[in-house]
């Protein structure tokens, strides 16, 4: 075997990696039929933070001080103690146009964290589509943190036996609000209907309906959930022509409407094909049914056996062997 063959072989695995576009290519996952989620309308949010408080109460999270001088609950960003946060966007010029944005898990349709978790600690419910986390399975590698486009899962770095925390739509073990027919805490307490709960399909429909409204008109915004009999009338704002989460990375189950551009509000610009799909396509192209590795291994075994025999044979005559090496 000459060097050319060797190089060929050395890059065999990697070359297979580049041969994407074969039958294994996987597109985005489909939205589960009964997928639930939330619709956050930033133009309705008044920044009262009732959702932040409710979230802390329900999930048993401690308050988080930002500085010793401000000894009240004032997280600056999502953290392992703050699974839901209201942030304020201030436009660079003038006073008008500022907006609040609620950040929490987007419950991706094709979730990066679920795709990358080595031990299936991150799970997507096949029915509701809620992305949940099982700390008893989790090994704490934090790949989910790295692979989340929204930077949602948070690890408790300050604890000797920390765990990953994330919003599980108030349906985790011991809370189970969705299963009990209740609303997620943040949707239930929202006084203006800025954040409502519902089936993703209904919410998407509602979002499209709102976008079709004429700015300045009156519209009754639902309170709590999309099926709620209660509503509050308000003026229709100028919406951005963009339903965030409809298509981002294959879609999310938490949808957003806003009056400002989403990149200004700190939301990433994500291609429609999820990174999870790209990653899994590459991975499965290489390792589909372990065919490629098995083939490579077969070749390797053959050559290793042949060549090691050669070298063992050579050993019968060490002097000859060495004389070949020692010459410079």
């Amino acid at each position: 075997m000459d060097r050319r063959n060797f190089l060929k072989l050395a890059s065999a695995g990697a070359v297979i990696a580049t041969s994407s576009g074969n039958a294994q290519a996987r597109g985005n996952l489909e939205v589960p039929d009964e997928a639930v989620g939330m619709l956050f309308d930033a133009t309705r949010c008044i920044g009262c933070r009732a959702c932040v408080v409710a979230c802390k109460d329900i999930n048993g999270m401690p308050p988080e001080q930002s500085t010793p001088e401000e000894p009240w609950d004032l997280a600056m960003d999502l953290s392992a103690d703050t699974l839901n946060i209201i942030k304020a966007y201030e436009p660079p010029q003038g006073d008008d146009g500022f907006e609040f944005i609620k950040r929490n898990c987007m419950h991706c349709v094709d979730a990066g964290c679920v795709s990358v978790c080595p031990v299936t600690a991150m799970k997507k419910d096949p029915k509701t589509g809620i992305v949940s986390h099982d700390p008893d399975a989790c090994i704490g590698c934090r790949y989910c943190v790295a692979a989340c486009p929204y930077n949602i899962p948070k690890y408790e770095y300050d604890e000797a036996m920390g765990q990953i925390q994330k919003c599980q739509l108030c349906n985790q073990k011991g809370v189970e609000r969705i299963d009990n027919g209740e609303l997620p805490g943040c949707a239930e307490v929202c006084p203006t209907g800025a954040n409502i709960y519902g089936k993703r399909s209904d919410l998407l429909e509602e979002a499209k309906r709102r976008m079709a409204l004429k700015p300045g008109d009156k519209y009754v915004y639902k309170l709590g959930s999309i099926d709620s009999p209660y509503g509050q009338e308000g003026e229709v704002p100028n919406y951005q022509d963009h339903i965030y989460g409809e298509k981002e990375g294959g879609g999310t189950q938490v949808l957003m409407l806003a009056g400002n551009r989403f990149e200004d509000l700190g939301m990433p610009d994500i291609p429609e094909l999820s990174y999870a799909a790209v990653s899994e396509t590459v991975q499965h192209s290489i390792y589909s049914n372990f065919l490629a590795p098995a083939t490579v291994l077969g070749g390797l075994l053959y050559m290793a056996r042949r060549n090691i025999k050669g070298s063992q044979d050579e050993e019968q005559d060490p002097n000859q062997d060495k004389s070949g090496e020692d010459r410079s």
Partner: protein, 384 residues
């Protein structure tokens, strides 16, 4: 403006039934309401001591006399001090000693005498439907009275929500066509002091500014003095911390209500109502006595389209001009950067690797040279 003499001060103080100290305190207090310095208070004291008091004509249309009543309950100064010693209240249906033709005559005389100099105060809305017949005084409609008195007025103040934007009489189907003053007199500058009733000090401060400086306060786009109506109640509300923390009373008498939580969910209109209630409280009662202070949601009396229009339980549209600082920005910075020690360590590691390599390279080079020389020697020896 000439300085006030001790004697003058003593005189006016005794006239007002105050000691000298109390009098100065009052003037400074009014100046403070206006947002002026204490020297302005002294100037006001000076103005009040002048013999010539401005004439005031106080007309009442469709109203409940609540504005007058609340004014009556002020204590610094008391209303009688105001109307007898600080201004010359030449006509007021509620407070006139005279009645009938006598009162009417006094009004006309005052208007004639102080032509172009008197202050017109209108309380209550003006019915315009059916020729304005739903409010008549001395056989003339309110509409005519207002127009007549406005012609030669130096300043026009609409007191109360009815006069400012229609108030209660204009609510719902508005059967009388109740109209605010500024719509009757579109060409005039009207100072609106809305409220149901308005804080009397907002009125007093406006009048005293006029008396003292001959000027009118700066007004917002709805004709309201900015010193009193420039900010929404919500911005300075004593319960604001609860709002920001998301703690709300959800029912009257519930845990949150008793603990003094934010009344937003009970329908408080503070977040969309412009008034200084949260800083001035109400009247002279003190002790946190204003609607929100005593656990009653603000109903937005000063705000057209809110008070008497929105249902009491209806949640307000929160008007905020700038997000409070306590909200995290979109890109709050966090994390630890390099310290001198950590950066130094990185440098040391790279340095050590490069250094060790350099040393080894030198050794290798040396050995190679020696080997070459050795080889040359060997070759030379062989040739020999």
């Amino acid at each position: 403006m000439s300085t006030i003499t001790e004697q003058q001060l003593e005189e006016v103080a005794s006239r007002l039934g105050l000691n000298r100290r109390g009098f100065l305190k009052f003037c400074t207090g009014v100046a403070a309401t206006l947002g002026l310095s204490s020297t302005a208070g002294i100037q006001m004291a000076h103005a009040v001591t002048q013999a010539r008091r401005p004439s005031v004509i106080w007309l009442s249309g469709q109203e409940c006399t609540g504005c007058t009543e609340s004014l009556l309950r002020t204590t610094h100064p008391t209303l009688e001090t105001l109307i007898l010693d600080m201004i010359s209240l030449d006509y007021s249906e509620a407070l006139c000693a005279a009645a009938g033709h006598q009162a009417e005559a006094a009004k006309h005389a005052a208007m004639e005498e102080n032509k172009g100099k008197y202050v017109l105060v209108v309380e209550g809305s003006i019915p315009t439907k059916d020729g304005g017949i739903y409010c008549k005084i001395a056989g003339k409609t309110m509409l005519e009275h207002v127009k007549e008195a406005a012609d030669d007025a130096a300043a026009i103040i609409a007191i109360g929500s009815c006069a400012s934007w229609g108030g209660v009489p204009s609510a719902g189907i508005n059967p009388t066509g109740a109209t605010p003053v500024h719509e009757i007199l579109p060409d005039k500058t009207i100072i609106n002091i809305p409220g149901c009733p308005p804080n009397p000090y907002n009125f007093l401060a406006t009048v005293l500014q006029y008396v003292t400086f001959g000027t009118l306060p700066e007004l917002d786009d709805k004709g309201r003095p900015k010193f009193a109506y420039g900010r929404i109640i919500h911005e300075h509300c004593e319960r604001r911390a609860h709002f920001d923390a998301g703690r709300f009373a959800k029912e009257f008498g519930d845990e949150g209500h008793r603990l003094g939580y934010c009344l937003y969910k009970l329908g408080c209109k503070g977040p969309e109502t412009y008034a200084n209630c949260s800083t001035q409280e109400f009247g002279d009662v003190g002790g946190g006595a204003w609607p929100v202070g005593v656990g009653a949601p603000c109903f937005g009396c000063t705000e057209q389209g809110v008070g008497f229009t929105k249902a009491l339980h209806e949640k307000s549209e929160v008007t905020t001009h700038a997000p409070p600082d306590i909200f995290p920005p979109i890109n709050a910075q966090s994390g630890e950067g390099a310290t001198a020690t950590s950066a130094g360590l990185l440098g040391a590691v790279i340095g050590a690797a490069v250094g060790a390599t350099a040393m080894t390279v030198r050794q290798l080079g040396k050995a190679e040279k020696e080997a070459e020389k050795g080889a040359e020697h060997a070759a030379a020896e062989e040739q020999q």
